[in-house]
């Protein structure tokens, strides 16, 4: 049984169509596995080899991977929510209520989006604490820490812009308060608030601007920085193996 399955897998791997996609072949030897990762447009961001130690749960608690997982959930559920949501006043509130009570599985997708958003903010902080307390931000990984800080800011801005979209009382006053905090910036504060809201008060323009930021501009920035973040892990010598492991290798 196991043999026939192996044979079948091998047949597929040597198949002409398979080999046209994966030129170097896949599986069965370390060279082929390495080439498979190296020649794949998505996987080439990652290291072709990793120490066993860094794949253990205790090394990272998988917090970065979990953060990326919540991001993927948010992208998928977010695109689905966009199919029923109009960023206009007062339709936005009604669409949000429709998603909760009228659309099939709407309440599930909306809640999944909401809880994943909360989880992502929590996981980003947890990931940063883990990296900080392990000392994984130190040379040669200091630039990747900076990219991580940018990703923290993008995450918080995504969270903030998404908060306005239900157009309920909580959203309205949270963004009123938040935009007034922004206007406390010296000299340019009031102008910044005007550009952010597209007006002098939280209104239809502000809803539309936050919608475009939330659904297009910030996710694109996030994807670009996530790609660089992952690629830098490989370029900086893989996931930080920890103090003891690096001592062992240096001896």
């Amino acid at each position: 049984m196991a043999n026939s399955l192996d044979n079948f897998v091998n047949q597929v791997r040597e198949n002409r169509i398979w080999r046209s996609i994966f030129r170097s072949g896949s599986g069965d030897s370390n060279l082929r596995r390495a080439l498979f990762v190296q020649q794949n447009v998505f996987l080439h961001l990652f290291s072709i080899k990793a120490r066993k130690r860094v794949l253990e749960f205790s090394a990272t608690w998988y917090l970065g991977a979990l953060t990326f997982g919540t991001f993927l959930i948010l992208v998928i559920t977010g695109i689905l929510l966009m199919l029923y949501y109009h960023p206009s006043v007062p339709q936005a509130y009604a669409d949000m209520k429709d998603l909760q009570y009228v659309v099939s599985s709407g309440v599930f997708l909306r809640n999944l989006h909401r809880w994943s958003a909360h989880a992502m903010v929590f996981l980003v902080f947890a990931h940063m604490f883990k990296v900080f307390y392990r000392g994984a931000y130190r040379t040669p990984r200091e630039f990747n820490w900076i990219i991580g800080v940018v990703l923290l800011l993008v995450t918080l801005l995504l969270s903030y812009t998404g908060y306005l979209l239900p157009w309920d009382q909580l959203a309205y006053w949270a963004v009123t308060v938040g935009s007034n905090i922004a206007s406390a910036v010296p000299l340019v504060g009031a102008k910044m608030r005007f550009l952010m809201l597209g007006g002098t008060a939280v209104n239809a323009n502000a809803l539309l601007r936050f919608y475009v930021l939330h659904c297009v501009i910030l996710p694109v920035i996030a994807v670009i920085f996530i790609a660089v973040h992952f690629w830098r892990i490989r370029k900086d010598g893989g996931i930080y193996p920890g103090e003891s492991a690096s001592e062992v290798t240096s001896k």
Binding site: T176, N180, F194, L195, G199, T200, N205
Partner: protein
């Protein structure tokens, strides 16, 4: 032009600019000008020229709507119309801290903000809380047909009552 020493440097002098350097400078300079233009263009595009927002001038109705010694709030326009024994004045209902809508508490005779706990008296003077400034008095006047009008965009420094 020939007598200008800067225009005609001696060949091979250190100040002489090579053709390559000249074109690099022209190229970088034009890219900088284009970047400035793009920034100005983006700034102007992002600033709306026409706002479809409610008018700052509010018609508060006939003065006799308001009982003597009363504070009446209109949540839609975010103003208080205060009637004292001597006359009327209008107070902004927007907290000077972070822009929340305040509320009048008739049992305590104060104006309180639900967001961060600022408190004001009926004249808008701050009693406590994080608010940095008192609630502004807004310009109020009587229209020709006897209605109270309030200009929300016009805070008045000198407190004046409208006497009817």
């Amino acid at each position: 032009m020939a007598e200008d020493p800067k225009r005609a440097p001696a060949p091979d002098s250190p100040e002489e600019m090579s053709r390559r350097k000249f074109f690099v400078k022209v190229g970088v300079g034009s890219a900088a000008v284009a970047a400035l233009g793009t920034a100005a263009f983006a700034y102007q595009y992002l600033s709306p020229n026409v706002l479809y927002e409610p008018s700052p001038i509010v018609d508060a109705g006939k003065p006799d709507r308001y009982p003597p010694d009363s504070v009446t709030m209109d949540p839609q326009t975010a103003i208080y119309v205060v009637r004292t024994g001597e006359g009327f004045f209008a107070l902004s209902a927007i907290c000077t801290h972070l822009g929340c809508l305040t509320a009048y508490k008739p049992d305590l005779g104060i104006i309180a903000c639900p967001c961060h706990g600022s408190k004001f008296n009926k004249d808008g003077v701050k009693i406590e809380g994080p608010a940095p400034r008192p609630l502004p008095w807004l310009r109020m006047w009587l229209s020709d047909d006897g209605n109270l009008l309030v200009d929300r965009s016009n805070a008045i420094a000198i407190k004046q009552l409208v006497r009817v």
